[in-house]
């Protein structure tokens, strides 16, 4: 009978760990929502921060965040997808591929603070781009590249080989097969990966803090500097004078990121059904 008791205890512990994880998530979300909801208003979203303690809204930080994220996506998407096409469809297992994979893994594991300093050293200073959307987007590109590459490669590999064979069997060339059957079939999952990477970029702090600058500014050209929401939240939280604005920013940030994640999940679920 002791094995039954051991089983019961173990199951209880496993349940506990899973519930703890879920509880933590809800605690964090609830905490941000409860404290931030009172702050949210059109005025908060669409006006500028005013004064020493950033009274007022967060509009330029939202724009900066969206700007840099969009810019990074524009740069990373084609590169990552084509790179994944290479790895999944063209590459022959060998030294070259293992170097590329190793590099992608390494890139994925670089701490974001290191990526931030790298962006500072290369784009801001050595390349004289200065604190700008472009510098931040380029640094984010390296951060997102391995994520998008991996999810895209998985998406491509998940396309049944039968579908490829069907296309080859009809006399399609490799590129025709990839472009007309494989990529369309993999597209929903590729999009999911892109959306998740976008969420990651939106939430990133350490990379942008050293590449975008911190001054509140409304970016127009890619060479403009700005302050993204994450940095704004960090500064408000540490300054600790205007906490309501910090809660409001945190809530907005969370809504954006949960929005990205949930839409990615939705997309994935919908395509699984079809």
């Amino acid at each position: 009978m002791s094995k039954r008791i051991a089983n019961q205890i173990a199951l209880a512990l496993l349940w506990t760990s899973a519930l703890t994880t879920v509880a933590v998530l809800f605690a964090v979300i609830l905490y941000v929502v409860v404290n931030g909801i009172g702050q949210l208003s059109l005025g908060f979203i669409f006006t500028w921060p005013r004064g020493v303690n950033a009274e007022g809204g967060v509009w330029p930080t939202i724009v900066s965040t969206l700007y840099v994220t969009a810019l990074a996506m524009v740069i990373v998407t084609p590169i990552a997808i084509l790179a994944a096409v290479y790895l999944a469809e063209y590459a022959v297992q060998g030294r070259l591929v293992s170097i590329i994979r190793c590099a992608a893994d390494t890139l994925a594991s670089v701490p974001s603070i290191v990526m931030g300093l790298f962006g500072l050293a290369l784009f801001v200073e050595a390349a004289h781009i200065g604190f700008s959307m472009l510098s931040a987007a380029l640094a984010l590109t390296f951060l997102m590249l391995p994520i998008v590459m991996r999810t895209t490669e998985e998406a491509i590999r998940a396309v049944p080989k039968y579908i490829r064979w069907g296309s080859y069997g009809l006399g399609a060339t490799k590129w025709q097969t990839v472009r007309r059957t494989v990529l369309p079939a993999a597209m929903p999952r590729i999009l999911t990966g892109l959306i998740l990477a976008t969420g990651r970029a939106v939430g990133e702090t350490a990379v942008v803090i050293y590449t975008m600058g911190q001054a509140i500014n409304m970016p127009v050209s890619p060479l403009d500097s700005g302050r993204p929401m994450t940095v704004h939240l960090y500064l408000l939280a540490m300054e600790g004078i205007n906490l309501p604005a910090a809660y409001g920013t945190a809530l907005l940030l969370m809504i954006m990121i949960l929005g990205f994640n949930l839409s990615a999940r939705y997309l994935l679920r919908r395509t699984r059904k079809v």
Binding site: G51, V52, A237, M238, E239, G240, I241, N242
Partner: protein
């Protein structure tokens, strides 16, 4: 206001402590004077003084007085605000007053227990600011002298966090600009003087410094207008107080 000064531009360079006031005032100022530009940057007090001396900026801002060597340069000093630093503890802490020397010893780690300064027998929890902070710089210069801060102190990069940490940790001691001290922390008397606007203005309260604008000769034109704006009641009671500083005593006071 003279519209003749429009499309002019001045450069304001110097102290990072003054940066937020100068910057926000500059925004309001240019809003009220369309076509003008006030470029503000924070590079440190010494660099500010040097740049106004060299003529590369119109106004040099500084959170310290001039050094003897600098006094010979003939710069005109306009005090614009008083930065007074309060030493704060938890409201339940029985200690009400410390001497400057005790404060120095506490922050340098020579005194580590509250009982050594008349409090309960508990460890002292030091809360310090980050090294980029102007408040830390001022506190160091005024209180610490040649002593070094105890490196095991918690370092927080923000005034409000120092206040809220002190507000809910009974062992804590920290320092913040007087203007940010609220009732959830206890402000200590230093050398027997409780910091109030009055004791600060009178110079009795020791931990304070004056923030300056320096110009090479009497300010004129847009620089003068900007300085007048900074000294106006609107800015003094608004931006300056928001930043935790005390307004400079007005002539009428």
């Amino acid at each position: 206001s003279s519209s003749g000064a429009s499309s002019a531009e001045i450069i304001v360079t110097g102290s990072t402590t003054i940066l937020p006031i100068a910057e926000i005032a500059a925004e309001d100022f240019t809003d009220q004077h369309p076509g003008t530009r006030v470029l503000v940057s924070g590079v440190g007090s010494s660099a500010g003084i040097e740049s106004v001396t060299r003529g590369s900026s119109d106004i040099g801002t500084s959170s310290r007085d001039l050094k003897p060597a600098e006094e010979e340069l003939g710069l005109i000093d306009t005090p614009i605000a008083i930065d007074s630093i309060a030493v704060i503890v938890h409201p339940s802490n029985p200690v009400d007053a410390l001497t400057s020397e005790q404060v120095r010893q506490i922050f340098s780690g020579e005194i580590t227990n509250w009982s050594e300064v008349g409090g309960e027998d508990r460890e002292i929890g030091l809360v310090n600011r980050d090294e980029a902070s102007g408040t830390r710089e001022a506190f160091h210069k005024i209180v610490m002298g040649d002593s070094k801060f105890d490196r095991s102190a918690a370092v927080l990069p923000g005034t409000g966090q120092v206040r809220s940490v002190v507000a809910n940790a009974e062992i804590a001691v920290g320092y913040i600009s007087l203007g940010f001290a609220t009732s959830d922390v206890k402000v200590l008397a230093i050398d027997g003087v409780v910091p109030t606007p009055e004791t600060v203005r009178s110079g009795e309260y020791p931990i304070q410094r004056t923030l300056h604008f320096f110009t090479d000769g009497e300010p004129t034109g847009l620089a003068l207008e900007y300085i007048d704006f900074i000294l106006s009641e609107e800015v003094q009671e608004g931006v300056v107080r928001d930043a935790g500083f005390l307004p400079i005593p007005r002539e009428g006071d």
